[in-house]
């Protein structure tokens, strides 16, 4: 049995600032969900509410049909791992943190924890405050996976890990998900690297849900149309053009639309090239405020500040 997440009319305000604005979202149990958004979009606030770390200003959040806040029956089944591993004391040793998690978590898999500690080369006897960023993150994902919580959420948990460790994390996450199906929510800025793991994607933008769809459906919507400028103009007329680039007489338009067979044939006959957009490209263009048309020759459409 897996646990669904249901969020209705959710608002979160910090004084004057609205962090979450009328969020309605249903995440099916037993799937890996991706949660993406720009810095300050509200991802961490949303996950903190789901984990009952934070009380919403208004609205309801249910996991497995039950309200989350101050409900130990549910919070025991939810695990949120944040990027900094901030739920433990810095002076504690790694092995103490693992023992603590084991006592707290009914489904704890000590064997998996030991294997991951080994795989990520986490020094058991070091104080957590003395760990490198990469080791801290590795400890976080180790605890997150070994907890086997029916709802497990990673909030940028792996951002500080190096590439080989991140790949090891993806492999372990997938393997453990397949062996023990449960609900995962993964928030990340490393979009193209992680997105193949997702079944569904939610894009949060300035506190609101911008998109919630199966990954394949969303990806099928993004198309880059490239060719002679006039032909591209005719082809994309009436469609939602997210961004464009020009290079001499060539134009490349990024369109938010899925094209059918007929349109694809039209494109081929007009000498236009249709290419996919990656989730990261789509995300950048969907969450970037529309900019004034660029002068011919500019090629800066796909850039974003980190």
């Amino acid at each position: 049995m897996t646990l669904d997440i249901e969020i209705d009319d959710l608002h979160l305000r910090y004084g004057e600032l609205t962090a979450l604005d009328d969020v309605r979202l249903r995440l099916d149990g037993g799937k890996i969900h991706g949660l993406i958004g720009r810095n300050g979009a509200g991802k961490s606030s949303l996950l903190a509410i789901l984990a009952a770390f934070r009380k919403p200003t208004s609205g309801t959040v249910r996991i497995g049909g039950q309200p989350v806040f101050e409900n130990p029956e549910i919070t025991h089944q939810v695990c949120l791992v944040r990027s900094t591993g901030d739920t433990v004391e810095d002076d504690d040793k790694v092995e103490e943190a693992l023992r603590f998690a084991e006592r707290l978590r009914p489904a704890w898999d000590a064997e998996l924890a030991a294997r991951l500690v080994d795989r990520f080369h986490i020094p058991l006897r070091h104080a957590i405050g003395k760990l490198s960023l990469g080791q801290r993150c590795a400890l976080g994902v180790t605890i997150g996976l070994a907890t086997r919580a029916p709802v497990t959420m990673f909030d940028e948990s792996h951002l500080g890990m190096d590439a080989p460790s991140r790949y090891a994390f993806y492999d372990e996450l997938l393997a453990d998900f397949m062996a023990h199906p449960r609900t995962f929510v993964v928030s990340t800025h490393l979009i193209d690297e992680v997105s193949p793991l997702f079944e569904e994607v939610t894009i949060l933008d300035r506190g609101r849900i911008l998109v919630h769809e199966p990954l394949d459906t969303l990806l099928a919507r993004g198309t880059a149309v490239t060719g002679p400028a006039a032909a591209v103009d005719r082809f994309v007329d009436g469609f939602d053009v997210l961004a464009e680039k020009r290079l001499g007489g060539t134009r490349s338009a990024m369109v938010y639309a899925a094209f059918d067979e007929g349109r694809r044939r039209w494109a081929a006959e007009a000498g236009l090239e249709l290419g996919p957009l990656s989730l990261q490209d789509l995300f950048v263009h969907l969450t970037q405020p529309t900019e004034p048309a660029e002068p011919a020759g500019s090629t800066s459409a796909a850039e974003e500040d980190a």
Partner: protein
């Protein structure tokens, strides 16, 4: 690992079709499980399942409940027929267009193809449904 020009599930489906066409996978042979594909390509198992479903819909694979996915006995013949139907449109037409673009007379292309045929083009794997080569 992927060409990035189509969704991953379509590329997985295409790879299985190619394996069937080349006789790497033969009729009634079991294919790897969704989970094995997911782990190998580091993708969500639902994505791998989508590739399998597409192939079931096309009659390339069939499902044995509780056991797994198998190659349909007629999959090879079916795919060869389909590829023959599309060969001139998908392969020959773009080749002719490319030859024209770079200034190679079609007569030269034809002569080259005749030469390939004389050099033993007929010896390449023809492939019957059970023409699997020993691993």
């Amino acid at each position: 690992m992927f060409d990035d020009h189509s969704p991953i599930y379509r590329q997985i489906a295409e790879r299985i079709r190619t394996d069937v066409l080349n006789g790497v996978l033969v009729g009634d042979e079991q294919v790897m499980s969704t989970n094995q594909y997911a782990a190998f390509y580091r993708i969500n198992p639902a994505t791998a399942a989508k590739a399998f479903q597409q192939l079931v819909d096309e009659g390339i694979l069939y499902k044995k409940r509780g056991i797994g996915m198998f190659v349909s006995p007629q999959a090879g013949a079916h795919l060869r027929e389909r590829h023959r139907d599309r060969f001139f449109a998908d392969v020959v037409a773009p080749m002719a267009a490319e030859a024209r673009a770079v200034g190679i007379p079609l007569a030269d292309v034809i002569a080259h193809l005749r030469q390939l045929d004389r050099d033993g083009g007929s010896e390449t794997t023809g492939g019957t449904d059970d023409g699997r080569q020993p691993a």
